[in-house]
Symmetry: C2
Subunit: 140 residues, 2 copies
DNA sequence: TTGAATGCAAAAAATTTGCATATTG
DNA sequence: CAATATGCAAATTTTTTGCATTCAA
């Protein structure tokens, strides 16, 4: 998977570079990382720091390949993850800020209902669901 | 409803001002407005333009009262609406960008499932669901 | 070799903040 | 009159862009 991304890039006349590999590795190890997180992570991986623009462009390139995807946990920061780590819905607590997740399967009925009533093919994983986790819900 | 917001503000030692009223009116008439939209709308309502910071602060004040709420349709812009216009889920098309909506009721099973499995009290109206509208889905 | 990718610095875009002044209650 | 709200300008924060240089293929 991760190793043939270089070939996919080359197949499109694009290139695999050490920078892109480091960005990909950072996304893989962080699971949910903002561009800023990735910049910080690669700065810690032993190599020279990457400029933010390189990280933004690398994420864009990797996303256009389908190697990574992003989810919006809140308004201020897309978080990137490997494409194969995308099959869940994020639950962001308004109280404590914790991010939990649930199986995408939990939402299949909703997806089906939206498809039936609106013809809309929903991707419930792209933006997080906000609300109150069980602990915070109790306190209210 | 809208008219006793002044009293609610005063009850908290805060104030109702012409600026806040104009912001509230703009939110009411636009239905889904970004702060930028509100700035533009009040500039057209006959009065003097409001400075962006006044609009941001007015929206914050009105939201803290529960008079307005906001939804994230995409990553770059919260959209404000009257609190009583909040009961639907937004569906944003990745193809054409159109924003549709469906009844919150469509998601009750999902909300129930998340509550059951995670104890999480979900507010499905806060962030939009992305996907493909029927027209764009056909084209793929 | 040659065009895509990088790095830097400057530009944008979107909020936020400090502070003097104006206004509400 | 006292404290809150406004307006402006400057500061932040986050992301994008131009361009000369480097490097993958």
């Amino acid at each position: 998977m991760v190793q043939d991304i270089g070939e996919q890039l080359r197949a499109q006349g694009r290139r695999m570079t050490p920078q892109r590999q480091r960005v990909l590795d950072a996304v893989a190890s962080l699971a949910h990382a903002t561009p800023e997180d990735v910049v910080a992570a690669v700065a810690r991986d032993g190599g020279a720091p990457l400029s933010p623009s390189t990280v933004y462009r690398a994420l864009e390139a990797l996303e256009s390949l389908g190697a990574v995807g992003h989810t919006h946990l809140d308004h201020r920061a897309p978080t990137y993850h490997l494409a194969d780590h995308a099959d869940h819905v994020h639950l962001v607590c308004r109280g404590c800020g914790r991010v939990d997740q649930c199986e995408r399967a939990t939402a299949v009925q909703f997806e089906a209902a939206v498809l039936r009533s609106k013809g809309f093919v929903a991707d419930v994983t792209h933006m997080a669901v906000h609300g109150w986790c069980s602990d915070c819900a109790k306190k209210r």
